[in-house]
Each structure stands twice: as C-alpha cells, then as structure tokens.
Symmetry: C2
Subunit: 347 residues, 2 copies
C-alpha cells in the first residue's frame, strides 16, 4: 500500500489537542488505502521561547521532504512582549506559506444542517474562499522612519503580480467548474485602483475561458454585508490575501464558528508540500482543558486527502463529520470525545 | 437667529431623493434655533458625464466657505467604462475627505428596538466606529509597472503617520469618555507590523491619559467575528481607513441595514467644513422610484447638528427617527412618506 509521509506541527495552545484527534481520524480514514507515517516537529511559540529558534533553512528542508504538513495552531500569550509584532505568525506560519509557495489558501464554508448560526435565516451556506496566499499586504514589505518620535511614518506595501494573481484565479475558476459555476471577485477596486485593476483584468480574461461560469464583482465592504444577509449567493470567492483573511473569519462565524472552519495552504504545482490547518488560532485561554472542538482540524484532513489524491477517504471524513454534527446534542463533549465519535464512524 | 450655511451635494441615484427628506428634517429640527441657508452643488457622476468636470480647486474653495456639507451619494452605473477605476469615488468623495482633512470618519451603529437584524440574538448594539479618514491604504499611493503584460506588478502603499493616528485616537478616547468608556483598537498588528505597531503604541500612550477608559485590541479578522457573535461588547472602535470601511458596512448590516447607517466626515479642528452622508451608496438600480430609505441621511443630519453645536436639535432628530422606527409596520412606504413621518414628529 501507498505511504503518506506526513509532517505534523501540533504547535501551541489547543493545537496539540486538536491535532491528536485529526491524526487519529486520518489513520482511520486511510486504513484501507495507505500507511500513515507521521513525523512530528516542535515548531511553536513555546519552542521559540525555550530555544530561541523559530524555523530555519534546515527546518524548511526537512519539512520540504514530506508529502504534506498538518498544522494545529501556533502563537503564545498575546500579551507576552517576547512574542510582540507577530514574530511567530510571521516567522513560522507565514514563512511556511511563502517558502512553500502556498499560493492558494482554500477555505470552504459549509453550514451543516443542525449547526446553529448567529444568523436568524442563513439559508444554504456552501461556498469556498480561494484566498491568495503569497502576495498582497502580507509580503512584509513595510517600514518606518523617525520611529518612536512624533514624526514617525510607517508604510506597508501591498505587492500584486500578474503571475501571482493569474495562477490563483485559474484555480478559483477550476473550483467553480466542479461546483455551482459562479465566481465572485472581492476587492476594493474603487480605492486600490492599481491592484484592483490588475485583479479585475485577470478575472475578466480567465472568465473568457469559462463561458459556463458566471462571475461578478463585490467591493470587500459590500461582501461583508452579503455574508450576513445572503450568504447563499456565494459559490467561489476569489480574493487577495488580506481580504481573504477577513472574509474567512466572518465566513467561519456565520457557519457555526471557527471551531468548524478548515483550511488548506496549497501549492497546486506540487513543487512543495501543502499545509493543512484549522482557521482558528491557538486559543491559549482554553488550552489543555479538552474544551477545543477538533472538527476544524479534522475537516482540514479531508482537504489534505483531496490534495493527495485520496478523494474517497476525504468524502468519508466529511461524511463522518456531517453525521457527528447532525447528532451533536447540547451536552458539551471533550476534544477527545468528539474525535473518538468521528473516528468510530470511520471503522 | 443663527444661520446655518449648508452646502448640499445631492449626488447620483437615490442621493437626491434621500437628501430632499434630510433637508426638510433639518429645517424642522432647527426651526426655533437657526435659519437654514442651503446652496446646492451639482457634483456627481452624472454631472461628470455631462460636463467632463468632477471637482476642481474653485469648487473646493466654494465648498470651503460653508459651515458644513450634506452629501447624498455619488457614483453612477458601475458597469459604465467611463466611470471605471473609482474615478468619481476618488475624484469627488475621497477628494473632499482629504482636501478638507476629514480625519475622523464617525460611524455610529445602533440597533433600534423594533428593527429587524439578520442576527438571531444581536443583544444591545450601540457602538461607534471612529475610522481614520485621511491615511492608510486610501492615500492613492499605488502604481504599476509592465502594466497590461504578463509581468505586471501593481503596488499599493498604506501610509500611516504618528501625527495622523494620534489625533484620531485622541478623538476616539474623548468619545469613549462620553459613552461607556471602552475603546477597541482594530488592526492587523501580527502582519502589518509597522503600521500596526505605530497604532498600538499611540493607543497605549493615549490610554495612559484616560485611566477611566478600558481598552483592548482585536485583529480585524477577529473583529468581524465579534460583530456577528457579540456586538454588545463594543463601545468605541478606533481603526484605520480600510478596516473602518469594512467594519462599518458589516456594522450597518447587523443593525438593520445600511439604509439606517449615518456617518460624519469630520474635521474636528474646524479648519474646513465637515461633511455628513449616509453610509450607503447611490443604488442606481432603485433610483427615482421613491424606494430608498432616507433614514440614514436623516440620522446623518443629527451628526451634523452635533458638530455645529446644536445638540438639542440633534437629539430631537434622533428621537423622531427612533419613534418612527418603533412604529414602522411592514407596509413599505415611499422615501417621501418616511421623511414626512419623521418631519411631522418635529413640529
Ligand atoms: C495568524 C495570522 C497571521 C493568519 C493570517 O492572517 O493569515 C490567520 O489569521 C489566518 O487566517 O490563518
Ligand atoms: C465609495 C467608497 C470610496 C467609500 C469608502 O471606501 O470609503 C465608501 O465605501 C464608504 O465607506 O464611504
């Protein structure tokens, strides 16, 4: 049988708890088709505070040898001054996304039938956000002068390339072909005219290759309105790195919380391993208490399985989660109980 | 009696309809205290298409002589290629905000008791967003090279200054002193470290001057979650130009729609006239049909009255709107009917 050579970065806070369940589910889901070989890596805020090391070139080389990466969550106590300025987020999470050219940040949003939404009448929520992952305001191209004085000026540069946008837009239209054939570009073309103009022209050009796919455009501010008033209008949203960050947290919130929101940081070319992670963070306030919902991490393994060409196993994971969600009562369960309930359905 | 020398830019689409009602309300609300002198200006997408002129230095000089500006909405058919690239938004609306140094974009969000919200359990929604209005990604500091080729690179620069942030943060804390004494800074400090660091340091420094005001920080993505799961947690949100744009549309959506969302583009120093406008756009699809809700424009006049030092009149407008909202049935009314119902309550 085939071997899946998986790197696991459990990370900080609730990361290790949710990842333990995700790995168990992954093993159960692939039992007939593949052998799971797991290598764990300690990269995390805790590891940094202990060793002073975040992620170096040798670490990247080690990770690059795996088929895929499963990540829990990284980030320590937000008030710890040693972690200020997003040093872990940028030095670990974003570094991996950029180093491994994860230009597609894929974030499906599904409101499962029995899951409560904060919306009074959400309707059918089933869309996917294709967030660009390697450009935009995330490139780390900022700086300041007269820092710390009353004359400080701090700039941040959003960098957008035809090369970078074309490939993610192509991916978005390919997703739409497999779904309800509708792409919505979200940007702010009336203010960010250069970046917005580039995105618009590229979407228009790609749309011409897909006469069967309808497309429209929304300003990012208007998109947030529709996400709470008519989320059923969306099928595939394609957008830049920052707008995608904002929209996917909101999308998670309306579909039952980010405890259910999965994501894949994908390098579709296969040059580098792709990385799968729940959208939620490390939630240090509830860490170690078995309170975290592992469902987002578990659903992320379905994206991983799809990416590795194991769609049957991916569908089994999704079906097990859907069945579990349908039967979830209001009695709280531990992280391990949720994981076990989903795993049982896979045997 | 005092004279209020008001410039009115009714604008495009539903702008003229909602402004007609707002001016009538303003007259009724100030009848005992002031004489309203209205000068109308034709600036709009329609005017541009007719004359080729958007807003020049002479226009700015004329507007600068007024006590305040009331604006309906500007913007034509979004598919009209002659209006591409946000030429009206940038050449008219943003030009006014920047030329008249409207560094506070004040956007209150109140969910009135009987108004339906898309949220199942919104709770008490009563907060104000203090959006910076003259910096950030809105400065128009972008450009592209190799434009139109597969090698195009388009950059957008967000410019943030200590000077610009300090003054708006001061305004936000002053607002909090008059409200429930809570300020939330919203930014993305873990990614936009230079701009985010500057915002954080300035908020911390200003907070030290207000020991009675509590403050916290949220990443912009997390802020959108709280806006749908727990909007009652907010009192004063202070944030940058782009994040404020996004959050206030979402805030409008959860509090009954942007048909109710008022805003003020304020120059607190009084060097230039401040400008008051509904958050909504020109909605060309329903223009001229008396379908638009003038309430947002009418509530914007309350902000205008507050700014001009007529708080009693401002409270009367708000009370009339609250009373009207409380009695609104489900039978649709025309724009003029809503305006008349509110005006009647002011006599
Ligand atoms: C932790 C942070 C850097 C990250 C992001 O902004 O991309 C997170 O919010 C996410 O959405 O995965
Ligand atoms: C029309 C547009 C330029 C404007 C903005 O982005 O500020 C609008 O969305 C608003 O919020 O007033």
């Amino acid at each position: 049988t085939r071997t899946i050579d998986l790197a696991v970065i459990a990370g900080d806070g609730i990361g290790p708890e949710v990842i333990a369940e995700a790995v168990t589910v992954l093993e159960a889901a692939t039992a007939d088709e593949a052998q799971l070989a797991v290598t764990t890596y300690p990269f995390s805020a805790a590891h940094y505070l202990e060793t002073g090391r975040i992620l170096d070139d040798a670490d990247l080389a080690a990770l690059a040898a795996h088929d895929a990466i499963l990540l829990g969550a990284v980030g320590g106590d937000p008030r710890d001054p040693r972690l200020a300025g997003g040093i872990i987020e940028r030095g670990l999470l974003l570094k991996l996304r950029f180093a491994f050219d994860h230009y597609v940040n894929l974030r499906p949003t599904v409101l499962y039938p029995t899951v409560p939404s904060p919306l009074a009448a959400p309707g059918e929520v089933d869309f996917v956000v294709v967030r660009e992952g390697t450009e935009g305001p995330y490139v780390g191209n900022g700086g300041s002068i007269r820092t710390g004085t009353p004359h400080e000026i701090a700039n941040e540069v959003s960098v957008n390339t035809a090369y970078g946008i074309e490939r993610v837009v192509r991916f978005a239209f390919a997703q739409a072909e497999k779904r309800r054939r509708k792409v919505t570009l979200v940007h702010k073309t009336n203010v960010l005219t250069h970046a917005g103009g580039l995105w618009s022209r590229i979407v228009q050009a790609e749309a011409a290759n897909h006469p069967d796919v309808a497309w429209d455009y929304l300003h990012v501010d208007a998109a947030t309105i529709f996400l709470v008033t008519d989320p059923a209008r969306f099928d595939v949203i394609v957008t830049d790195n920052l707008f995608g960050d904002i929209l996917t947290d909101l999308a998670g919130a309306i579909s039952g919380g980010i405890g259910l929101a999965a994501s894949g940081n994908i390098n579709p070319d296969g040059t580098f391993p792709s990385m799968f992670e729940p959208v939620h963070g490390s939630a240090p306030d509830i860490a170690g208490q078995q309170k975290a919902d592992p469902t987002a991490a578990i659903l992320s393994t379905a994206l991983l399985l799809d990416h590795l060409g194991l769609p049957d196993a991916a569908r089994r994971v999704e079906a097990a989660v859907a069945a579990d969600l349908a039967e979830r009562g209001s009695t709280p369960r531990t992280t391990a109980e949720v994981g076990a309930a989903i795993t049982t359905r896979l045997h």
